[in-house]
Subunit: 426 residues, 2 copies
């Protein structure tokens, strides 16, 4: 079935999604005797760990996103398609695109995740999440527009509502957004307005759990919480948001009026599970076998944020870039071995390389398997590590000089309000 | 009337538009004893001479646009308003904004120009022009999407239509767009597609007049035409577009099927003339007196692309950045002199500093009052001059390194398709 029966035809590998998982799967097959088609809804690969910087006007979209075609242009066995997958036919081994079908010998589903509102999908217009470039420029537009509106209004209550920023969820994205918005208000914009004092803006981080950065040790979580508070962020732990609308949010039965609410509280996997009619976990992730293929479909692999994978200790592999990369590389090796009639590699094993998060521009927390550290030194390690990861995809000079310039001047050059200024709900 | 009658109150100067003219007027008043309000519909000042680079994916929007508040944050006598002017009441000396009025002692209208379709406004959806960041990202989206669609289609005629790019108007913007799109197709994208050869794209520059870059000498025009042809641009001179719709354009009674038509053929001034009920020229520019004030309204000045100004020889001052800057500086000196009760400076005199345009990344034409030159050396002069002009507004390192990186790699890192991919007419 999966194996190629016509010897004249090279096996066709279809990869859906050009995030870290899909891209590393494609690269892992660069010397394999297969034809690859990689499909994505966007024409760019996104360096998601820095997306919050675009949302807070620190970096430009093109600093952290690169055309998929450009990344893969030299890999001649890859065809890139800008298209959307509607379904998968597991009987005929076909992927259904917007207006055609594509048959495959091997399929890799690396379709990522979207934000989840835990049954409150109607909150989305009031509390956008951060997954794509368009999400980020929309959040940037909203954040900057609220300061503009606050400068213009004569209504004190409305001004207060405009200068309240609520971030829901204290994982890395929520922490990084809160820190960056606090710095935007306290430093970057401090001299820009005449009628309001942007430093009076409140940045409120709401978390249902009992600590910030729950994946980290108690010590680093505490450090991060203190660092956030030093930046002026109010941290509300153990409180879920119970209502969200155009006025703001309800937390612990108290209303917090806020024109800007950002959602960083949860993710749900893409619909890959329903395409395969496969068993999923609560977050919609497909439960996979130990070679990352779907149950009963040994030629269909599911990786990255779309898959529920366990590590050697039985804990869930986290939804972070290094995990997706390892899985992409692994399925490439499995497919290559099968296509070449060789012995399949042993079961996938996740190697955890660490967790990290930044708090503003002076502090970060880094937890590696063998050590943990925090503070300014950690921030520089974080910065250098990210510049290192960016090398090869875009000009490292550009990103490095953007950051250095920002660091020296406290400026945020990318604070452009683009798109339609009128269609905001607030 | 214009002069301040209440000695306790500083004169209020309202500047509409934060382009080169408005910004230089504001800066020219930094030491004047006045209160300034500068109003713009956008929150950013745009370096328009490089806008074509954003439209062709060479630079990111934030490389050439900077928040107005950031530029003026240290000038304490300036308040920035993000708002739109609906009208001017010349009797009561008030500017009408979206939901309020603002009274002024002096008014500077520096509202620029939009593209003009010479009575064919219905062509706009099919042939967008290039004036704002949103225009540029929309053109970038369209240009990149046509290559994606060409890669997907099996219809030969449709593929040809998708790979035809028509640019209407051979002034600097048209020439620069044509050169940049030709290089995008011939070099940057050459290895990116598997089913189409992007190098087979046709780039057609249509001009109703008899030469490209009509403001330049015959020698430089001829040079530019040859340089365009070497890049693969087809130059059609002496031919106006007589029809434009979703299929393409009609030129000399022949249809040219084209999914992408870009309009660089003409500009019309903003509605400032109708606000003042003033006499305008054919392009809608307000005819001004020799201190750049409107006839019968000595406290209202009109500058930049909105004004019809003559130079010492009686020719029209061109609609270019240096002219707007000189006019902005001049009206600042007039207002300052009047506010301080000093003698008003002599009539405005335009000093022409030159014309220039680039053709792709290897060639430029520069015409200065005392010399003219062209070719690779001119390109470098152009590049260094622009980096010099950008210094002080954004990180010169960033722009310089972006360009250097592009120059070395032939890459165009900013080729992101953002925004709604479905709402294109083609």
């Amino acid at each position: 079935m999966a194996e190629n029966t016509d010897p004249a035809k090279r096996p066709h590998v279809v990869i859906v999604g050009a995030g870290f998982g899909g891209l590393f799967a494609a690269r892992g097959l660069r010397r394999a005797d297969v034809d690859i088609t990689i499909i994505d809804r966007q024409n760019y690969h996104l360096f998601q760990p820095l997306l919050y910087q675009v949302a807070t006007a620190g970096l430009a979209p093109s600093d952290i996103a690169w055309p998929i075609r450009g990344i893969l242009s030299r890999q001649k066995n890859v065809t890139v398609l800008l298209d959307e997958v509607a379904d998968v036919n597991v009987e005929s081994n076909e992927v259904l695109l917007s207006d055609r079908r594509l048959s495959f010998d091997y399929l890799v589903l690396a379709t990522g995740a979207r934000h989840a509102y835990f049954g409150h999908q109607d909150w989305e217009p009031f509390a956008p999440g951060l997954k794509s470039i368009d999400d980020a420029t929309e959040i940037r537009r909203r954040v900057l527009m609220t300061f503009e509106r606050a400068e213009m209004t004569d209504d004190t209550a409305e001004r207060e509502r405009l200068l309240n920023f609520v971030i829901v969820g204290a994982g890395p994205t929520g922490v990084e957004l809160a820190g960056a918005i606090a710095e935007l208000a306290r430093r970057t914009l401090a001299a820009d307005f005449r009628r309001i004092d942007s430093r009076s803006a409140r940045v409120i981080l709401v978390e249902a759990g009992s600590k910030v950065l729950p994946a980290l040790s108690a010590e680093l979580s505490d450090y991060a919480e203190t660092a956030l508070q030093k930046l002026g962020v109010e941290v509300l732990l153990g409180n879920a948001v119970t209502q969200c609308d155009s006025n703001g949010v309800m937390v612990a039965n108290k209303p917090i009026p806020a024109a800007t609410v950002l959602w960083a509280a949860g993710v749900a996997a893409s619909p890959a599970g329903s395409w395969l009619d496969a068993e999923t976990d609560r977050a919609g992730r497909v439960k996979v076998t130990d070679d990352l293929s779907a149950a009963n479909h040994s030629n269909i692999f599911v990786i990255g944020d779309t898959a529920a994978v366990k590590d050697a200790k039985g804990s869930a592999v986290p939804g972070i870039a290094p995990a997706a990369k390892q899985q992409g590389r692994y399925v490439a090796s499995v497919i290559r071995a099968r296509a070449e009639g060789k012995k399949q590699p042993a079961a996938f094993r996740y190697r955890h390389s660490g967790n990290l998060a930044t708090i503003g521009r002076k502090s970060a927390v880094i937890e590696l398997p063998f050590m943990r550290f925090s503070g300014l030194f950690a921030w520089w390690v974080w910065g250098l590590a990210h510049i290192y990861f960016l090398i090869g995809v875009r000009s490292p000079f550009t990103v490095a000089s953007n950051w250095l310039w920002q660091y020296i001047t406290y400026g945020r050059g990318a604070r452009l309000i683009t798109g339609d200024k009128t269609n905001s709900p607030s």
